[in-house]
């Protein structure tokens, strides 16, 4: 599903975020990218979401060579990828319903289809009944679940999550991680960046260790 081939990413400052980075992730697989700050975890996710472009190598996601995607085609590609962020990136003044509906509206989904798909996504993350609450009124964990519902509602092939539990207490963090495991079990390829190895160890998922932009370990559990 996702293949990195000798990928390099060097920022204009000259700092190398990824060096000769190789990775292969299968359909419906859950992979955690771990490592210290600056290891290249977020950069790898940004490259999969086409939020950044590699400076070398090749990235193929679902058969699409990302180095060949034209600027005008980037929005169509991003609609296929669900993204979850540490700071949730919600429209705080809007309701849960409005926030989760955004990817469907952006993708041109008819209004009459919205209701059923939104309900399904909110049920999946356990937020049924919170539809009309403003995002601002929710707890950190609930906000993150809204973020996950928003990432899933359009039925993406790939879900990327950058430190999704960074701002949460251990109980809520584990809850979010279990949710991501369930998403992967439903057939979505999930790539999660996290520095919290203690949190992800019990999940028994594949773990890729990064350091200074290089893969230094690839293990399960």
């Amino acid at each position: 599903m996702i293949r990195f081939e000798h990928v390099e990413k060097r920022y204009v400052t000259g700092r190398a975020a990824l060096t000769n980075f190789d990775l292969e992730v299968g359909v419906g697989e859950l992979v955690f990218l771990t490592g210290p700050s600056g290891a290249g975890k977020s950069t790898a996710l940004k490259l999969v979401g086409l939020l950044e472009r590699p400076t070398g190598g090749r990235i193929v996601v679902g058969g699409i060579d990302l180095t060949q995607v034209e600027r005008q085609d980037v929005p169509a590609y991003r609609q296929r990828v669900g993204m979850v962020f540490q700071d949730h990136r919600l429209l705080l003044a809007r309701t849960v319903w409005d926030n989760v509906a955004l990817p469907l509206i952006v993708a041109g989904t008819p209004r009459r289809e919205l209701k059923s798909r939104l309900r399904a996504a909110l049920d999946q993350v356990g937020l049924h009944g919170h539809e009309q609450q403003r995002a601002l009124e929710l707890s950190g964990g609930e906000q993150q679940r809204v973020g996950i519902a928003r990432a899933l509602v359009a039925g993406p092939d790939v879900l990327i999550a950058d430190e999704p539990t960074g701002n949460l207490d251990p109980t809520l963090a584990l809850e979010i991680m279990r949710l991501l495991v369930a998403v992967a079990q439903a057939g979505v390829t999930v790539l999660v960046a996290s520095h919290d190895v203690h949190l992800i160890a019990p999940l028994g998922a594949r773990r890729l260790s990064l350091d200074a932009g290089r893969v230094v370990g690839d293990a399960v559990g």
Partner: protein
């Protein structure tokens, strides 16, 4: 690489059309919400656009009215062609017909020596003196009305020169110089109105552009989120375009109302001044095309200003963080 198709492009055309309408309605509602959300700032922007459009529109109304008033001056452009004495009437009439056939001549009227004498007797008050002459000293004449207006003096000059060259013609008289000067002044005002119109249209573009730029900056976070979710620039731009069009439309409406008010306010004194000169002239309201220009041009300028600004601004907002 082949173009990536998004989910919407894979849907049937009818459904896509329905979604397109839904998205435009949502964008229009969003734009109205933003305008109403800052009523004072929006009202000020609309007022500035309205006033900017009013200045050239007022000049255009003055030009329209002056041209209307000048319509009665057509006869002043007539060219009097005096024929040589003793020219047979039949030949004179044939010449009048030949001149009337010219492309640059609207009409001709032949005035026989007898008719000329009668007209002269009527308006000169010298009837008794003319009787003393015993005979009719006046030649036949042709009154030629050119097709060209006062705004095309070269065409009238060419016609006068051609008429002077005719062998049967003794003298050609053209007294329309003052009409030409009057027309030149109107043309100059019209040109000033056009130039001002162009400059102030540019000002409207800048006003709308700056307002939309601030609006984009205020919604930067929202735009970044939308782009992460796969929104195209076209999708993000849409509410701002509706905002620009609304500013322009409201500005055009304000301008139309202001011009109407000026016509009402100025119409009384102008009408009284005309009446003092024995004229029934009344100031005319802005013409239909001018009102349409204001109501259509305002939104168009608003759209252009918003489009140029959002296109430039959205390129600067990329969710990657600009690393």
């Amino acid at each position: 690489m082949a173009k990536l198709r998004n989910a919407a492009e894979r849907r049937p055309l009818r459904q896509r059309a329905l979604v397109w309408i839904e998205q435009h309605c949502a964008a229009a509602a969003d734009a109205c919400g933003r305008l109403c959300g800052a009523p004072l700032a929006s009202a000020l922007t609309v007022a500035v656009i309205g006033i900017a459009l009013t200045l050239p529109a007022t000049l255009a109304v003055i030009v329209e009215n002056t041209r209307l008033a000048a319509r009665g001056f057509d006869a002043a452009l007539d060219v009097s062609v005096y024929l040589k004495g003793g020219l047979p009437e039949a030949e004179s009439r044939r010449l009048a017909s030949r001149v009337a056939g010219r492309a640059d001549v609207q009409t001709t009227r032949y005035v026989s020596p007898d008719e000329g004498l009668q007209e002269f007797r009527q308006w000169s008050g010298l009837g008794a003196t003319l009787d003393v002459l015993g005979g009719n000293p006046l030649p036949g004449a042709i009154i030629v009305r050119p097709r060209a207006t006062a705004s095309d003096p070269a065409a009238i000059d060419r016609l006068v020169a051609d008429l002077r060259g005719l062998s049967a013609v003794d003298q050609v008289q053209f007294d329309g110089l003052w009409v030409r000067r009057y027309s030149s002044v109107i043309d100059a005002i019209a040109r000033v109105a056009q130039i001002l119109g162009g400059l102030l249209a540019g000002a409207v573009l800048l006003i709308v552009g700056n307002t939309v730029r601030l609006d984009v900056a205020a919604h930067r976070n929202e735009i970044e989120i939308l782009k992460r979710l796969g929104a195209s620039d076209r999708f993000v731009r849409r509410p701002f375009l509706y905002g620009g069009v609304t500013y322009g439309l409201l500005g055009g409406l304000v301008s139309t109302l202001l011009v109407e008010l000026l016509v009402v306010a100025g119409g009384g004194p102008v009408g009284r001044a005309a009446a003092a000169y024995g004229s029934l002239y009344k100031v005319a309201a802005p013409s239909g095309p001018l009102v349409l220009l204001l109501l259509g041009g305002g939104p168009l300028l608003g759209w252009l200003g918003a489009y140029a600004t959002t296109t430039r601004q959205l390129r600067k907002i990329e969710p990657g963080g600009g690393n």
